[in-house]
């Protein structure tokens, strides 16, 4: 059980949690994740650790509402309450070379949350870091000031053109690589489709590219194999062999299909949950009205 020290909404359907988890806070390294189960009967879902404070004994998670479990967390868990189960840190840590180099990091949407501790790790070892931050619209960026304060350069990119480059992060990536800028490594974290195209964009330039995969998991210790991905001709377990992999070896198309293995069931569960919440709200409203009349 982990106490929810802080909870706030930082953008539409995106919630920031600070949890009391001293052991994890002490141990975790950039790139690692936790698995949480918010309530009895709840699912176990993997979430990357966005930040940690070892002295305070707390970890930060940034979670987007995408289905029933994340909706429950955002709507029903309260600051001061508890996250029923939190286990970690899981997975292997990011490999950060001791010799400083030039890093290009690409984050789409919520991808900045898992990317942030990795950037911190690179900066601590003196690397020069450029970040391409992408979002649908300029008001949807999260953790932007923190990132700008941390790294050397931030390039903004929006789908609707409300700020920065009007278009995709891969277009900015391509421009940079074509302009002759040299990078020792690219790190791309975001939706699978974005990572896939970041890899394809980098391929002709042969810059090493690391991606962080977010597959369906249960135990997170290599016991069930649910998270396996095709990697360079063999299957790898994301929970123990990853979550970070050499992007050139990952079969993203198969991974996206696996992520959608329960899409129909999940969609229905999410819908039913929202309906139940609404019914509950209406009932409360009706009871209150009745109370006011009598």
């Amino acid at each position: 059980m982990a106490k929810i020290l802080k909870k706030k909404t930082i953008a539409d359907k995106i919630t920031w949690y600070e949890l009391d988890a001293p052991r994890i806070a002490r141990k975790r390294k950039p790139g690692q994740f936790v698995i949480v189960r918010p309530c009895e009967g709840g699912e176990r879902i993997p979430l990357t650790i966005a930040d940690a404070d070892p002295e305070k004994g707390s970890i930060t998670l940034v979670v987007q509402e995408v289905g029933k479990t994340t909706a429950y967390m955002g709507r029903e868990l309260e600051e001061g309450g508890d996250m029923l189960d939190v286990v970690g840190p899981l997975g292997t840590a990011t490999h950060i070379p001791d010799t400083p180099g030039r890093i290009l990091a690409i984050a789409g949407g919520l991808g900045i949350a898992p990317l942030y501790p990795i950037l911190k790790g690179f900066k601590e070892k003196g690397h020069e870091v450029t970040v391409i931050l992408g979002a649908r619209s300029s008001d949807l960026f999260i953790m932007r000031e923190m990132t700008e304060a941390l790294v050397d350069k931030v390039l903004i990119c929006t789908d609707d053109g409300s700020e920065g480059h009007h278009g995709l992060v891969t277009e900015v990536e391509k421009q940079l690589l074509e302009s002759g800028e040299k990078f020792d490594e690219i790190i791309a974290i975001g939706p699978a489709i974005m990572m896939k195209f970041c890899v394809e964009t980098a391929r002709p330039f042969q810059v090493p590219i690391t991606v962080s995969l977010n597959t369906i998991m249960i135990d997170g210790t290599g016991m069930c194999g649910g998270c396996r991905v095709q990697y360079g001709g063999a299957d790898k377990f994301v929970c123990v062999d990853g979550p970070e992999f050499d992007g050139y070896q990952v079969n993203f198309d198969r991974m996206m299909q696996r992520q959608a293995a329960y899409a129909d069931q999940e969609k229905k569960a999410y819908h039913d949950y929202l309906c139940r919440l609404e019914a509950k709200a209406q009932q409360i409203e009706a009871t209150e009205k009745e109370g006011a009349v009598s």
């Binding site: 189960r37 176990r44 029923l84 286990v87 290599g222 016991m223 959608a260």
Partner: protein
């Protein structure tokens, strides 16, 4: 297998046998009818998750216990990995002294409600029972397992006696893994007065007893009750701790003040066959399928549980062991209309318990023998739609004594499926060896190396037992290890002696 002849005795006959129990000679006992238990009908039980066998009544348990000849050899005791004094226990049951029998049983077995249900008695205590030998059939053995389960259930309903613990020694032991080996070791160490903490990776204690073995074979409330007793004995539980990730063994010993560690992390690494298409949606490891159904309660999806599982029409389990049977029977209870077992040898070579195979067939699981998958194909959304099967024939016996399956050249068939559960075994989970310097493992199997007398590893103060040292085995084997390791840890805590390198292994 021979069909079980289920003749039932009348209450009067049972009473008479119990009343005259002191008068029978061994010859009389050999002729005595076995007291058969009753079972839920297959057509009923496929619709629920209740246990298949009904519990013996008090009279039935007593009358069955009277059949024990109390022979001098006591093969059953030697045949039991935790060496329960079976004849003494049965004698007390025969006398109707259930409390006494429970105490006798619990002298060496701390989890009898579990072992009574999941032990393969027909290859252990009951296989060597004199009754089996005399009748040349293990079916005729005294039903030690059923009596054991009866006693444990009787105790749970009539007040559990929490075992007395020796005065606190001030020593601390970390038990890594809350499965059968860890629970047994923890209970024994607590009894000896040591402070014990079980560190468990999942959110719930029990290991394979809660994620693997299905509800209809082992009700989870029974597992919870047995673990609850450990809590009352002072054992502390820390779920959600993955040793090797959350904390290392070195940190437990050096920073958290533990005097010894027992590694009982099980066989948590599912084997796949490295076949094309094995990563298609709908292809599961048995571990995943069972964990979703059992630990995560996927059969209550949409009402009480949020973890989904495939909604299958035609499911194939690959394998012939107990886990394969558990997977197939779980699928039946999840409402899958067609469930197949794909096995590369014949039914006679299946490693599963006869009772499990029998139950699976009764419940409608179909066997497709002498075939083995070589490839999976799927649709454009990445879901498995069929498997290519290689037909086999039996050749010469292999190392296990079973006839080896040999592929028939060119004999490949298509088999339509929408779900596959790969149940071909598990290896040792590498997380702890990977994060514990100096801990020797078997190069081929990845298991932690121990001497099998004191269960000492290559690292001082670190002991290991259960599936992590042998690869996948049985619950009772793990409990046997836990028990012996506890005695060994106790000795180490007293004398502090660790054999120098090479001696232990």
């Amino acid at each position: 297998m021979s069909e079980i002849k289920k003749q039932s005795l009348t209450e009067e006959q049972l009473r008479e046998r119990i009343e005259h129990r002191e008068e029978y000679s061994n010859k009389d006992k050999l002729k005595m009818a076995k007291v058969w238990w009753r079972e839920q009908k297959p057509e009923d039980r496929v619709k629920n998750t209740e246990e298949v066998p009904f519990r013996l009544s008090e009279l039935e348990a007593q009358a069955e216990a009277v059949r024990c000849m109390d022979c001098i050899k006591k093969n059953c005791v030697a045949g039991c990995p935790v060496a329960i004094d079976v004849p003494a226990m049965l004698r007390l049951v025969g006398e109707g002294d259930f409390r006494g029998a429970v105490r006798k049983m619990k002298e060496t077995n701390v989890l009898p409600a579990i072992t009574g249900r999941v032990c393969p008695q027909e290859t252990q205590c009951q296989a060597v029972c004199l009754m089996s030998k005399a009748h040349k059939s293990t079916d005729e053995a005294v039903s030690i397992g059923k009596v054991e389960a009866f006693l444990a259930d009787w105790e749970r309903e009539n007040g559990v006696e929490v075992p007395e613990c020796a005065p606190a020694t001030g020593k601390k032991v970390a038990v890594i893994g809350g499965g059968p080996a860890g629970l047994t070791c923890a209970a024994d160490l607590a009894r000896l007065g040591h402070g014990v903490t079980i560190l468990e990776a999942f959110h719930k204690l029990g290991g394979v007893l809660v994620y693997g073995i299905p509800e209809f074979r082992l009700p989870k409330k029974i597992v919870e009750a047995e673990i609850g007793v450990l809590g009352e004995m002072g054992v502390k539980f820390e779920p959600n701790v993955v040793v090797g990730q959350t904390v290392t063994i070195d940190e437990l010993l050096e920073e958290e003040g533990y005097d010894a560690v027992f590694v009982a992390t099980g066989a948590g690494l599912p084997w796949f066959m490295d076949l094309p298409g094995e990563d298609l949606n709908g292809v599961y490891s048995a571990n995943e399928y069972l964990t979703r159904a059992n630990l995560m309660n996927a059969y209550k999806y949409g009402t009480e549980a949020d973890t989904p599982i495939a909604q299958s029409k035609r499911l194939a389990v690959v394998g012939g062991g107990n886990v394969a049977m558990d997977s197939a029977r779980t699928a039946i209870r999840l409402g899958v209309p067609e469930v197949w077992l794909i096995y590369r040898r014949t039914e006679a070579e299946m490693p599963a318990r006869l009772e499990e195979i029998h139950h699976a067939k009764e419940e409608g699981v179909k066997l497709h023998l002498l075939t083995s998958p070589v490839e999976y194909t799927g649709n454009d959304k990445g879901f498995v739609t069929s498997m290519k099967l290689q037909r086999m024939e039996l050749g010469e016996p292999d190392a296990s004594g079973r006839r080896r399956p040999v592929p028939i050249e060119g004999a490949i068939e298509e088999f339509d499926v929408d779900t596959v559960v790969v149940s071909i075994g598990n290896g040792a989970n590498p997380l702890i060896p990977r994060t514990t310097p100096g801990l020797d493992t078997n190069e081929r199997k990845g298991t932690i190396v121990v001497d099998f007398e004191r269960f000492m590893t290559s690292r001082p103060a670190v002991f290991a037992g259960g599936d992590i040292v042998v690869g996948a085995s049985t619950v009772i084997m793990a409990m046997g290890h836990g028990r012996t390791a506890a005695a060994s840890i106790h000795q180490y805590l007293e004398d502090g002696e660790w054999p120098s390198n090479g001696e232990a292994n």
